[in-house]
Protein backbone atom coordinates (compact mmCIF):
# COMPACT_ATOMS: atom_id res chain seq x y z
CA UNK A 1 0.00 0.00 0.00
CA UNK A 2 1.24 3.45 -0.81
CA UNK A 3 1.98 5.67 2.17
CA UNK A 4 -0.39 8.38 1.14
CA UNK A 5 -3.67 7.49 -0.46
CA UNK A 6 -5.50 9.86 -2.75
CA UNK A 7 -8.88 11.04 -1.56
CA UNK A 8 -11.94 10.07 -3.56
CA UNK A 9 -13.52 12.58 -5.94
CA UNK A 10 -16.65 14.11 -4.36
CA UNK A 11 -19.18 12.48 -6.69
CA UNK A 12 -17.61 9.05 -6.17
CA UNK A 13 -17.62 9.53 -2.41
CA UNK A 14 -21.29 10.45 -2.71
CA UNK A 15 -22.03 7.33 -4.75
CA UNK A 16 -20.29 5.16 -2.17
CA UNK A 17 -22.10 6.88 0.69
CA UNK A 18 -25.40 5.90 -0.93
CA UNK A 19 -24.27 2.27 -1.30
CA UNK A 20 -24.89 -0.18 1.55
CA UNK A 21 -21.97 -2.23 2.85
CA UNK A 22 -21.47 -5.68 1.40
CA UNK A 23 -23.22 -8.12 3.68
CA UNK A 24 -23.28 -11.89 3.95
CA UNK A 25 -26.96 -11.72 3.10
CA UNK A 26 -26.45 -9.84 -0.17
CA UNK A 27 -23.60 -12.17 -1.12
CA UNK A 28 -25.70 -15.24 -0.52
CA UNK A 29 -28.51 -13.70 -2.59
CA UNK A 30 -26.09 -13.24 -5.48
CA UNK A 31 -24.75 -16.76 -5.07
CA UNK A 32 -28.28 -18.18 -5.11
CA UNK A 33 -29.12 -16.22 -8.27
CA UNK A 34 -25.93 -17.47 -9.93
CA UNK A 35 -26.67 -21.06 -8.94
CA UNK A 36 -30.11 -20.74 -10.47
CA UNK A 37 -28.51 -19.66 -13.74
CA UNK A 38 -26.03 -22.54 -13.61
CA UNK A 39 -29.02 -24.87 -13.75
CA UNK A 40 -30.91 -22.90 -16.39
CA UNK A 41 -30.48 -24.60 -19.80
CA UNK A 42 -31.81 -21.54 -21.67
CA UNK A 43 -29.17 -19.30 -20.06
CA UNK A 44 -26.37 -21.79 -20.67
CA UNK A 45 -27.41 -22.18 -24.32
CA UNK A 46 -27.60 -18.41 -24.72
CA UNK A 47 -24.05 -18.03 -23.35
CA UNK A 48 -22.71 -20.71 -25.69
CA UNK A 49 -24.42 -19.00 -28.61
CA UNK A 50 -22.87 -15.67 -27.60
CA UNK A 51 -19.42 -17.23 -27.26
CA UNK A 52 -19.78 -18.89 -30.64
CA UNK A 53 -20.66 -15.57 -32.28
CA UNK A 54 -17.69 -13.94 -30.54
CA UNK A 55 -15.41 -16.69 -31.90
CA UNK A 56 -16.81 -16.14 -35.38
CA UNK A 57 -16.15 -12.39 -35.12
CA UNK A 58 -12.54 -13.13 -34.13
CA UNK A 59 -12.16 -15.59 -37.00
CA UNK A 60 -13.56 -13.00 -39.41
CA UNK A 61 -11.12 -10.42 -38.12
CA UNK A 62 -8.16 -12.83 -38.28
CA UNK A 63 -9.03 -13.83 -41.83
CA UNK A 64 -9.88 -10.30 -42.98
CA UNK A 65 -13.38 -11.45 -43.95
CA UNK A 66 -16.26 -8.98 -43.82
CA UNK A 67 -19.97 -9.71 -43.56
CA UNK A 68 -20.56 -9.37 -47.31
CA UNK A 69 -17.77 -11.80 -48.11
CA UNK A 70 -19.02 -14.26 -45.51
CA UNK A 71 -22.55 -14.03 -46.91
CA UNK A 72 -21.20 -14.73 -50.38
CA UNK A 73 -19.22 -17.76 -49.20
CA UNK A 74 -22.32 -19.15 -47.50
CA UNK A 75 -24.59 -18.24 -50.44
CA UNK A 76 -26.77 -16.28 -48.02
CA UNK A 77 -27.82 -12.66 -47.77
CA UNK A 78 -26.01 -10.02 -45.76
CA UNK A 79 -29.22 -9.73 -43.70
CA UNK A 80 -28.90 -13.39 -42.72
CA UNK A 81 -25.34 -12.80 -41.50
CA UNK A 82 -26.49 -9.77 -39.53
CA UNK A 83 -29.27 -11.78 -37.91
CA UNK A 84 -26.86 -14.57 -37.13
CA UNK A 85 -24.27 -12.28 -35.54
CA UNK A 86 -27.05 -10.55 -33.58
CA UNK A 87 -28.11 -13.96 -32.24
CA UNK A 88 -31.51 -13.28 -33.72
CA UNK A 89 -34.15 -15.82 -32.78
CA UNK A 90 -35.08 -16.24 -36.44
CA UNK A 91 -31.71 -17.87 -37.11
CA UNK A 92 -31.59 -21.55 -36.41
CA UNK A 93 -28.31 -22.21 -34.64
CA UNK A 94 -28.24 -25.85 -35.69
CA UNK A 95 -25.04 -27.89 -35.68
CA UNK A 96 -25.21 -27.74 -39.46
CA UNK A 97 -25.29 -23.92 -39.39
CA UNK A 98 -22.33 -23.79 -37.01
CA UNK A 99 -20.29 -26.18 -39.11
CA UNK A 100 -21.05 -24.36 -42.38
CA UNK A 101 -20.13 -21.04 -40.80
CA UNK A 102 -16.83 -22.26 -39.42
CA UNK A 103 -15.95 -23.99 -42.69
CA UNK A 104 -16.64 -20.78 -44.59
CA UNK A 105 -13.98 -19.18 -42.43
CA UNK A 106 -11.48 -22.03 -42.96
CA UNK A 107 -11.95 -23.18 -39.41
CA UNK A 108 -13.41 -26.26 -37.85
CA UNK A 109 -15.63 -26.84 -34.86
CA UNK A 110 -15.38 -29.39 -32.09
CA UNK A 111 -17.83 -30.16 -29.33
CA UNK A 112 -16.87 -31.69 -26.01
CA UNK A 113 -19.22 -32.96 -23.37
CA UNK A 114 -17.54 -32.31 -20.05
CA UNK A 115 -18.06 -33.35 -16.48
CA UNK A 116 -19.12 -30.52 -14.17
CA UNK A 117 -15.67 -30.30 -12.62
CA UNK A 118 -13.79 -30.66 -15.90
CA UNK A 119 -12.43 -27.86 -18.03
CA UNK A 120 -11.59 -27.73 -21.72
CA UNK A 121 -8.75 -25.61 -22.92
CA UNK A 122 -7.65 -24.84 -26.44
CA UNK A 123 -3.95 -24.26 -26.56
CA UNK A 124 -2.92 -21.95 -29.37
CA UNK A 125 0.72 -21.47 -30.05
CA UNK A 126 2.79 -20.01 -32.84
CA UNK A 127 5.13 -22.97 -33.11
CA UNK A 128 3.86 -26.38 -34.24
CA UNK A 129 3.50 -29.04 -31.57
CA UNK A 130 5.47 -32.04 -32.81
CA UNK A 131 5.52 -34.08 -29.64
CA UNK A 132 3.15 -37.03 -29.70
CA UNK A 133 0.91 -37.04 -26.68
CA UNK A 134 1.07 -40.38 -24.92
CA UNK A 135 -0.67 -39.30 -21.73
CA UNK A 136 -4.11 -40.26 -22.94
CA UNK A 137 -5.43 -36.76 -23.37
CA UNK A 138 -5.99 -37.40 -27.06
CA UNK A 139 -4.13 -34.47 -28.50
CA UNK A 140 -5.16 -33.42 -31.97
CA UNK A 141 -3.21 -30.94 -33.98
CA UNK A 142 -4.49 -29.39 -37.13
CA UNK A 143 -3.02 -27.02 -39.62
CA UNK A 144 -4.96 -23.96 -40.57
CA UNK A 145 -4.54 -22.35 -44.00
CA UNK A 146 -1.87 -19.97 -42.77
CA UNK A 147 0.06 -22.87 -41.28
CA UNK A 148 1.03 -20.98 -38.16
CA UNK A 149 -1.53 -21.80 -35.50
CA UNK A 150 -2.06 -25.27 -34.13
CA UNK A 151 -5.04 -26.15 -32.01
CA UNK A 152 -4.80 -28.76 -29.33
CA UNK A 153 -8.11 -29.19 -27.52
CA UNK A 154 -7.59 -30.75 -24.12
CA UNK A 155 -9.89 -31.94 -21.41
CA UNK A 156 -8.75 -32.01 -17.81
CA UNK A 157 -10.28 -33.03 -14.56
CA UNK A 158 -8.35 -30.70 -12.27
CA UNK A 159 -6.50 -27.40 -12.34
CA UNK A 160 -3.33 -29.14 -11.18
CA UNK A 161 -3.45 -31.38 -14.21
CA UNK A 162 -3.90 -28.36 -16.45
CA UNK A 163 -0.91 -26.56 -14.99
CA UNK A 164 1.36 -29.57 -15.50
CA UNK A 165 0.18 -30.28 -19.02
CA UNK A 166 0.35 -26.62 -19.99
CA UNK A 167 3.94 -26.38 -18.77
CA UNK A 168 4.86 -29.60 -20.62
CA UNK A 169 3.44 -28.34 -23.86
CA UNK A 170 5.07 -24.96 -23.59
CA UNK A 171 8.45 -26.55 -22.99
CA UNK A 172 7.97 -29.16 -25.75
Amino acid sequence: MKNKQESLPADIAELLAATPKISEKSLSQLKAAAEELENDPAFQADCIKGLFVENILHAMEDGGVNKNQLAKRLKKTRQYINNLLNEDKRVNFSIETLVKLTMALDRRIELHVLGKSEAAHVLRCKAPIHKTDTSGFGEQTTTNPRDVVHFAPLVFSSNHQIDNEYENRLSA
Binding site: T19, A33, A119, F156
Partner: protein, 138 residues
Amino acid sequence: MKIELHEIPGVPDLVGNFWKVRVLAIDEKSPAQEILKEWSKKQKNDYKKILKALRIAATDKDCLNPNHVKRSTNPKHGGKIFEARAHRGHARLMFFYSLKNKSLIVCTNHYWKGKGFQDHAFDACAKFQQFFENNYAL
Protein backbone atom coordinates in the same frame (compact mmCIF):
# COMPACT_ATOMS: atom_id res chain seq x y z
CA MET B 1 -9.43 3.31 2.66
CA LYS B 2 -9.72 -0.39 2.02
CA ILE B 3 -9.70 -1.22 -1.70
CA GLU B 4 -10.70 -4.75 -2.62
CA LEU B 5 -11.72 -6.82 -5.60
CA HIS B 6 -14.48 -9.39 -5.29
CA GLU B 7 -15.46 -12.24 -7.55
CA ILE B 8 -18.88 -12.08 -9.17
CA PRO B 9 -21.01 -15.16 -8.49
CA GLY B 10 -22.04 -16.51 -11.89
CA VAL B 11 -18.92 -15.24 -13.69
CA PRO B 12 -16.32 -17.89 -12.80
CA ASP B 13 -12.60 -17.76 -13.60
CA LEU B 14 -12.48 -20.37 -16.34
CA VAL B 15 -9.34 -22.06 -17.58
CA GLY B 16 -8.27 -20.41 -20.82
CA ASN B 17 -10.04 -17.12 -20.15
CA PHE B 18 -7.93 -14.07 -20.78
CA TRP B 19 -9.45 -11.95 -18.00
CA LYS B 20 -10.70 -12.45 -14.49
CA VAL B 21 -13.86 -10.44 -13.79
CA ARG B 22 -14.16 -8.60 -10.47
CA VAL B 23 -16.18 -5.87 -8.80
CA LEU B 24 -14.39 -3.02 -7.12
CA ALA B 25 -15.17 -2.49 -3.43
CA ILE B 26 -14.00 0.53 -1.45
CA ASP B 27 -14.41 0.36 2.31
CA GLU B 28 -16.63 -2.69 1.84
CA LYS B 29 -18.95 -0.85 -0.50
CA SER B 30 -19.39 -1.91 -4.08
CA PRO B 31 -21.92 -0.09 -6.27
CA ALA B 32 -21.43 -2.73 -9.00
CA GLN B 33 -22.11 -5.66 -6.68
CA GLU B 34 -25.08 -3.88 -5.14
CA ILE B 35 -26.70 -3.25 -8.51
CA LEU B 36 -26.10 -6.84 -9.62
CA LYS B 37 -27.93 -7.96 -6.50
CA GLU B 38 -30.81 -5.59 -7.31
CA TRP B 39 -31.00 -6.75 -10.92
CA SER B 40 -30.86 -10.41 -9.90
CA LYS B 41 -34.07 -9.81 -7.93
CA LYS B 42 -35.95 -7.18 -9.92
CA GLN B 43 -34.57 -7.22 -13.47
CA LYS B 44 -33.80 -10.87 -14.09
CA ASN B 45 -33.63 -10.67 -17.89
CA ASP B 46 -31.16 -7.81 -17.83
CA TYR B 47 -29.18 -9.51 -15.06
CA LYS B 48 -28.82 -12.63 -17.19
CA LYS B 49 -27.74 -10.58 -20.20
CA ILE B 50 -25.12 -8.69 -18.18
CA LEU B 51 -23.68 -11.92 -16.80
CA LYS B 52 -23.59 -13.33 -20.32
CA ALA B 53 -21.79 -10.20 -21.59
CA LEU B 54 -19.22 -10.43 -18.78
CA ARG B 55 -18.62 -14.13 -19.44
CA ILE B 56 -18.00 -13.37 -23.12
CA ALA B 57 -15.79 -10.36 -22.33
CA ALA B 58 -13.65 -12.54 -20.04
CA THR B 59 -12.74 -15.03 -22.74
CA ASP B 60 -10.57 -13.02 -25.11
CA LYS B 61 -8.34 -9.97 -25.05
CA ASP B 62 -10.91 -7.87 -26.89
CA CYS B 63 -14.63 -8.40 -27.10
CA LEU B 64 -15.56 -7.74 -30.72
CA ASN B 65 -19.32 -7.94 -30.36
CA PRO B 66 -20.72 -4.44 -29.78
CA ASN B 67 -23.95 -6.01 -28.55
CA HIS B 68 -22.10 -7.11 -25.42
CA VAL B 69 -19.30 -4.63 -24.85
CA LYS B 70 -19.05 -1.00 -25.92
CA ARG B 71 -16.15 1.39 -25.43
CA SER B 72 -16.72 4.98 -24.32
CA THR B 73 -16.21 7.24 -27.32
CA ASN B 74 -15.51 10.27 -25.14
CA PRO B 75 -11.87 11.23 -25.86
CA LYS B 76 -11.55 12.26 -22.21
CA HIS B 77 -11.68 8.57 -21.28
CA GLY B 78 -8.80 7.67 -23.57
CA GLY B 79 -10.56 4.59 -24.93
CA LYS B 80 -10.06 2.83 -21.60
CA ILE B 81 -13.59 2.80 -20.22
CA PHE B 82 -16.20 0.25 -21.30
CA GLU B 83 -19.70 -0.92 -20.58
CA ALA B 84 -21.06 -4.45 -20.51
CA ARG B 85 -24.46 -4.30 -22.17
CA ALA B 86 -27.70 -6.18 -21.74
CA HIS B 87 -28.42 -6.61 -25.46
CA ARG B 88 -31.96 -5.43 -26.23
CA GLY B 89 -32.22 -4.48 -22.55
CA HIS B 90 -31.51 -1.46 -20.37
CA ALA B 91 -28.79 -2.52 -17.94
CA ARG B 92 -25.21 -1.37 -18.45
CA LEU B 93 -22.30 -2.21 -16.14
CA MET B 94 -19.30 0.08 -16.45
CA PHE B 95 -15.83 -1.43 -16.30
CA PHE B 96 -12.17 -0.99 -17.15
CA TYR B 97 -9.41 -3.43 -17.96
CA SER B 98 -6.44 -3.56 -15.63
CA LEU B 99 -3.15 -5.38 -15.93
CA LYS B 100 -2.26 -4.59 -12.35
CA ASN B 101 -1.22 -7.80 -10.64
CA LYS B 102 -3.19 -10.00 -13.06
CA SER B 103 -5.43 -9.49 -16.07
CA LEU B 104 -8.61 -8.04 -14.70
CA ILE B 105 -11.92 -6.65 -15.79
CA VAL B 106 -12.94 -4.35 -12.95
CA CYS B 107 -16.64 -3.46 -12.73
CA THR B 108 -17.40 -0.23 -10.94
CA ASN B 109 -20.83 1.30 -11.42
CA HIS B 110 -23.92 1.10 -13.59
CA TYR B 111 -26.21 2.94 -15.94
CA TRP B 112 -29.83 2.17 -16.77
CA LYS B 113 -30.62 3.12 -20.34
CA GLY B 114 -33.25 5.85 -20.41
CA LYS B 115 -32.46 7.09 -16.90
CA GLY B 116 -29.69 9.57 -16.22
CA PHE B 117 -26.71 10.15 -18.46
CA GLN B 118 -24.50 7.45 -19.90
CA ASP B 119 -21.51 9.79 -20.10
CA HIS B 120 -21.77 10.53 -16.36
CA ALA B 121 -21.59 6.80 -15.70
CA PHE B 122 -18.51 6.50 -17.94
CA ASP B 123 -17.01 9.50 -16.11
CA ALA B 124 -17.59 7.84 -12.74
CA CYS B 125 -15.94 4.66 -14.00
CA ALA B 126 -12.93 6.67 -15.22
CA LYS B 127 -12.60 8.19 -11.75
CA PHE B 128 -12.81 4.77 -10.13
CA GLN B 129 -10.14 3.55 -12.54
CA GLN B 130 -7.78 6.38 -11.72
CA PHE B 131 -8.29 5.86 -8.00
CA PHE B 132 -7.78 2.11 -8.34
CA GLU B 133 -4.65 2.34 -10.46
CA ASN B 134 -3.07 4.90 -8.13
CA ASN B 135 -4.00 3.32 -4.83
CA TYR B 136 -4.64 -0.41 -5.10
CA ALA B 137 -1.90 -2.29 -3.31
CA LEU B 138 -0.55 -5.38 -5.05
